[in-house]
């Protein structure tokens, strides 16, 4: 049996090519993902381990878990603690670590990097083993800074240049004293690192005389554990916490691994979609191979092969095909893994060096996935092969699929689709998270239903293309008829394309609608012309708000601050605002009472009010961080949204209770000007703040753009990942057409003989391909819009500004994409059909 199966595979090499390619792509995606994430996580772990070269035990501030700690002041790592650590037996050297946010501007004044990875720190003593200098000298005094080599290169700074940077407000212009190299994970990931001398760093980061961490290196012969024990003994128990570098490295490795597994799972979902699409192609191919071999299989049955043996022979073929595809896919996947890593490198996000990691797990998973998927998809055709009666060997008529099975199929499909639509519709009327599960189930039911129904749907939908096809004369007419000749095959081909387009369209609809909703919300509720914030999302120095208030033309300013308080023994965030200005800076609908913030009067958003049972004139007691209590009155309840929400209290009431008064910062500052948002106003504000690269001044349009950018990035990533599924679907269309051309070679030969020229034949094949692809495209886009709408209804319950936005241009583009897929997929089959030897084709049987 095995030999027969192997011979069959070899005999049908060309026809199995597309199947192998489809499985191969899916397997390559899977193994590429595994290789890439394993390699990356291995490299990151190595590099983070390298980061602990200079540390054996890290001393960190204690968490201050004592109940008596009412000051709220966390314990500090003082100079005394550092000196003491250095004296501990077994300690060879100590480094006091200070770090904070430092934004660096390039020569044009633009921020280097994206702000979230703009780090600063201290250069320890004269020679810091962590940061070997490649040029210049260590920074000394307030007027000097050292930069990592990559940042210096990106910003175009050389030793001796004046560097513009900012820590939390004012712009500083120290001289670049030196350039260093580092393995710091943040820098290798595209961030920047600026180093000052220790005293300057402590001053800049508001930690005078204190450290964030003390790194102790063990003397030769002292183990990390022994050093840790010695430190624990010498240092006050509650003030510090000691951890060995090995444990730190392990923790970090675990963090990296868990982050990577998120990425891995995300990518594998898309690999799974591509593989799922591939199953349609496999099923199509094996169905055809079985149909072509009806006589041969019947003969085997006639000479005594059992049904099981026939099925097994088909499955063995599938096994061979799957194994070939899996092995080639694995090799391609290793290439993809290596390629992705190189690609990340060229995109600026430097990946730490490391060997390509191909684990036995990766190899096993790739082979198992490739072989199992192929055999699973070939199982139904194998069953069908077994049902061929032995008598079919004698009859000349090929057994055709009966309409009876289509009736069963359509009933089943209608049931699934109906149930799916009903569940999805029911889910849309549910609120938020309750509807998620039913919606998911409904979506899956509907997709399955549509898969089953596609043969039925193909007839009316393709008939609708009739008038268009008539333009192309005989070729068009024949193409249309050919495309519905084998409804199952057409359906499976179109379904493969449908899956990708459904997902792409659904995501696009959702993203577009969400973007608009958030955008609307932001612009509707905010009346301020500008929102000023820190590029990295950190707090702003309070003098920013003061400076803005003093700038001519500014009519209203309100810093927004956050504070955690206790209300009725549960914690709640409270937002401090400038009571007199906030009404002018926001535009919120007031449901109850009046919008008035001042003294003990606060405003509350509807959701908080509802959950706390408050109305206008309700009173409640807050307990601040410093333990003080205050009785507050609800002046008004407003409609909150994703941008503005929560309890708003006047800053003058909140400020005295802040325990972190020393380094108190504002989240953001809202500004209204007399001239409105113009570029001149923006320049004026920027100038007032010292043209600080770390401070973002955004008008509503900037915020919209930022939101749009975020959505565009996300969508583009999804498009990229779904492209693989579409690519596999293209192979499916090629496969189907190649099969059609092969099966109809006699017809094609006859058509050529009676006068259809090569061009006409080519056009016929191309149009058939176009029709099938557009059929899949229309189904996919239609389903995608439905899912996008349904998911939006669910989101809309919690987002008042949400409304469906149909991206017509994008949808047209997707349809065009489907058409392009059709035309490209037909290139090779059409060529083959046109080149076919007419006489051989007519006479072949």
């Amino acid at each position: 049996m095995f030999r027969t199966a192997l011979r069959n595979v070899l005999a049908h090499k060309a026809r199995l090519l597309m199947t192998v390619l489809a499985v191969m792509l899916g397997v390559a995606f899977v193994s590429g993902t595994l290789v890439f994430t394993n390699t990356l996580s291995n490299a990151l772990q190595n590099s983070s381990a390298k980061g602990f070269d200079q540390v054996d035990v890290a001393v960190l501030p204690g968490v201050g878990d004592d109940a008596g700690d009412t000051t709220g002041q966390p314990p500090q790592l003082t100079q005394a603690l550092l000196d003491e650590s250095a004296k501990v037996p077994g300690a060879a050297s100590v480094i006091g670590v200070v770090s904070g946010f430092t934004a660096i501007a390039d020569k044009d004044g633009n921020l280097v990097g994206d702000g979230f990875q703009s780090q600063g720190g201290n250069y320890w003593s004269d020679k810091d083993a962590r940061y070997p200098l490649s040029d210049g000298a260590a920074p000394k005094g307030a007027g000097q800074v050292a930069l990592d080599a990559k940042t210096a290169e990106r910003a175009g700074y050389q030793v001796g240049d004046t560097v513009r940077l900012s820590v939390d407000g004012p712009v500083l212009s120290p001289t670049l004293s030196g350039i260093f190299t580092t393995d710091d994970g943040n820098v290798t990931a595209g961030g920047s690192l600026a180093l000052f001398d220790t005293a300057t760093a402590q001053r800049l980061y508001g930690k005078v005389g204190a450290y964030d961490e003390i790194d102790v290196k063990a003397a030769a012969g002292t183990s990390q554990a022994a050093l840790k024990a010695a430190l624990d003994k010498a240092l006050p128990r509650n003030a510090v916490e000691t951890t060995t570098a090995t444990k730190l490295a392990d923790d970090q490795a675990r963090n990296i691994a868990s982050e990577m597994s998120g990425l891995k799972q995300g990518l594998l979902v898309f690999a799974g979609i591509a593989l799922f699409v591939g199953t349609f192609i496999i099923a199509n191919t094996f169905t055809m191979l079985v149909a072509q071999r009806t006589k041969e299989l019947a003969l085997m049955r006639a000479v005594g092969a059992s049904r099981r043996q026939v099925t097994r022979s088909v499955l063995i073929e599938a096994f061979v095909v799957g194994a070939v595809a899996a092995v080639t896919g694995l090799i391609a996947g290793i290439g993809i893994g290596a390629g992705l890593k190189a690609l990340l490198g060229t995109l600026g996000a430097t990946v730490p060096d490391g060997p390509l990691v191909v684990t036995p797990g990766t190899v096993g998973a790739a082979l198992a996935v490739g072989i199992l998927i192929t055999m699973l998809a070939a199982w139904l055709p194998g069953r069908r092969a077994a049902k061929i009666p032995p008598v079919a060997a004698m009859s000349s008529v090929h057994a055709t699929a009966t309409t009876k099975s289509l009736v069963l199929r359509n009933t089943l499909g209608a049931l699934f689709s109906g149930a799916g639509i009903a569940v999805v519709l029911a889910a849309t009327s549910m609120s938020g998270s309750d509807g998620q599960a039913p919606m998911g189930i409904g979506a899956v039911l509907l997709i399955i239903g549509v898969f089953i129904l596609t043969p039925l749907l193909s007839r009316p939908l393709i008939a609708a293309a009739g008038p268009f096809m008539r333009v192309f004369g005989v070729s068009g007419k024949l193409a249309r008829q050919n495309s519905v000749r084998n409804p199952r095959r057409t359906a499976a081909t179109a379904s493969a394309l449908m899956i990708g387009l459904t997902l792409i369209t659904g995501m696009t609809v959702m993203a577009g609608s969400l973007q608009q909703a958030i955008d609307k919300m932001a612009s509707a509720s905010i009346r301020a012309d500008y929102i000023v914030s820190m590029a990295n999302g950190n707090g702003l120095s309070p003098d920013v708000a003061e400076k803005l208030a003093k700038t001519p033309g500014v009519t209203a300013v309100s810093p927004l601050t956050d504070a955690a308080v206790l209300i009725d023994d549960t914690s709640e965030w409270i937002t401090g605002v400038t009571g007199g200005a906030i009404g002018e800076l926001t535009s919120l609908t007031v449901d109850d009472g009046t919008f008035k913030v001042g003294g003990s009067q606060v405003v509350v958003d509807d959701r908080t009010a509802k959950s706390r049972g408050w109305k206008a004139d309700s009173t409640f007691t807050v307990i601040y961080d410093d333990g003080q209590k205050q009785r507050l009155t609800v002046a008004g309840v407003y409609e909150g949204n994703e941008v503005v929400s929560g309890i708003m209290l006047d800053n003058t009431q909140l400020a005295p209770h802040r325990t972190d008064a020393a380094d108190h910062t504002d989240m953001q500052v809202m500004v209204k000007t007399s001239d409105g948002a113009t570029s001149a106003t923006k320049d004026k504000l920027a100038k007032a703040l010292g043209a600080n690269p770390a401070i973002k001044i955004q008008d509503k349009k900037d915020i919209s753009n930022e939101i749009a950018q975020m959505f565009t990035l996300m969508l583009n990533m999804l498009y990229g990942l779904l492209a693989m599924a579409v690519l596999v679907a293209v192979l499916g269309v090629v496969n189907t057409l190649a099969m059609s051309v092969f099966e109809r070679s006699q017809e094609i030969g006859m058509l050529r003989a009676i006068g259809l020229d090569r061009k006409g034949i080519k056009r016929m094949v191309r149009l058939e391909s176009l029709v099938i692809s557009l059929f899949g495209g229309v189904l996919g886009i239609g389903l995608g819009v439905f899912f996008g709408w349904a998911a939006g209804e669910l989101v809309g319950t919690s987002m008042p500004t949400y409304e469906l936005v149909l991206p017509w241009a994008r949808m047209a583009l997707f349809l065009l994409l489907a058409a392009t897929v059709g035309i490209l997929a037909a290139l090779w089959p059409a060529r083959r059909a046109a080149r076919m030897n007419m006489l051989a084709a007519i006479q072949s049987e």
């Binding site: 004369g473 005989v474 007419k477 024949l478 008829q481 050919n482 000749r485 006699q746 017809e747 006859m750 058509l751 050529r752 003989a753 009676i754 006068g755 259809l756 020229d757 090569r758 061009k759 006409g760 007419m838 006489l839 007519i842």
Partner: protein, 258 residues
């Protein structure tokens, strides 16, 4: 060996003519000569049958003359058109407009109705069929009530009658049949052959048919016998017995020479 003297016949009455036609496959030692300098005329309004043992080159001759296959040397004319100089596109157009075909099997497109199959060559050309002519052809083959049927709903004989109608419908200069009765039982075959003969007698159509069946050949006005790629004999007004007799002689000759 009696080949038709070329100069004797005026070109106007010749529908198709092969002159010194040769077809050679392969090269060197594996070379096979399928046609060896064959010269033959097919006169207008004449029903010619080409016969010969398997491998005699009878199908190759028809394919070359019908513009379905290329030839190695010599010349073929359909009407006034020399085929040797034509590119594929012009050849296709020639087949579409000047030639009708009937094959042994798979003559019809299963997706088209009988009528659509009949008008297919004209649809390809983008021409409107001549209605009167079409009706007379359809009534002759007697399938007026089956025009909406698809090939799968017709018997083998009916399918082949549709194929004959298709060949006739575009009023080609010449119709070529490649074993048109090969897949039919004797009664259905007789019907098809009857139509072909009627089209020659009544409509003035020119028909050339390759067959191995002496009974089929007896319907023709003239039988040309091929052996080893050469025309070896010719018979006018044949009877089945006469053809069988000649064939037997050919067979023994082939055996003797080989």
């Amino acid at each position: 060996m009696t080949t038709t003297p070329l100069a004797d016949r005026p070109t106007t009455t010749v529908a198709a003519r092969a002159t010194e036609l040769s077809k050679v496959y392969g090269q060197g030692e594996t070379q096979v000569v399928a046609l060896d300098r064959v010269s033959v005329d097919f006169k207008q309004a004449e029903f010619t049958a080409i016969m010969g043992p398997s491998g005699s080159g009878k199908s190759t001759l028809m394919h070359c003359v019908a513009g379905l296959d290329s030839f190695s040397s010599g010349s073929v004319r359909i009407g006034d058109t020399e085929l040797g100089s034509l590119k594929d596109k012009q050849l296709t157009k020639l087949r579409r407009d000047k030639i009708g075909f009937i094959f042994q099997a798979f003559n019809l497109l299963p997706t088209l109705t009988a009528l659509e199959n009949i008008t297919l060559p004209m649809d390809i050309a983008g021409r409107k069929p001549d209605k009167e002519w079409l009706e007379s052809v359809i009534s002759m083959i007697g399938l007026a009530d089956r025009l909406r049927h698809r090939p799968s709903q017709l018997s083998g004989g009916q399918q082949q009658r549709v194929a004959v109608a298709r060949a006739l419908a575009s009023r080609p200069d010449i119709i070529f049949g490649d074993e048109p009765t090969g897949n039919l039982d004797s009664r259905a075959g007789a019907e098809v052959l009857g139509f072909l003969r009627n089209s020659v007698r009544e409509l003035g159509q020119t028909v050339v048919m390759v067959t191995h069946d002496p009974v089929a050949a007896a319907y023709a006005d003239r039988v040309v016998f091929l052996a080893d790629g050469r025309i070896v004999d010719e018979l006018y007004g044949p009877t089945a017995d006469g053809v069988l007799d000649r064939m037997k002689r050919l067979d023994t000759r082939t055996v003797r020479t080989s």
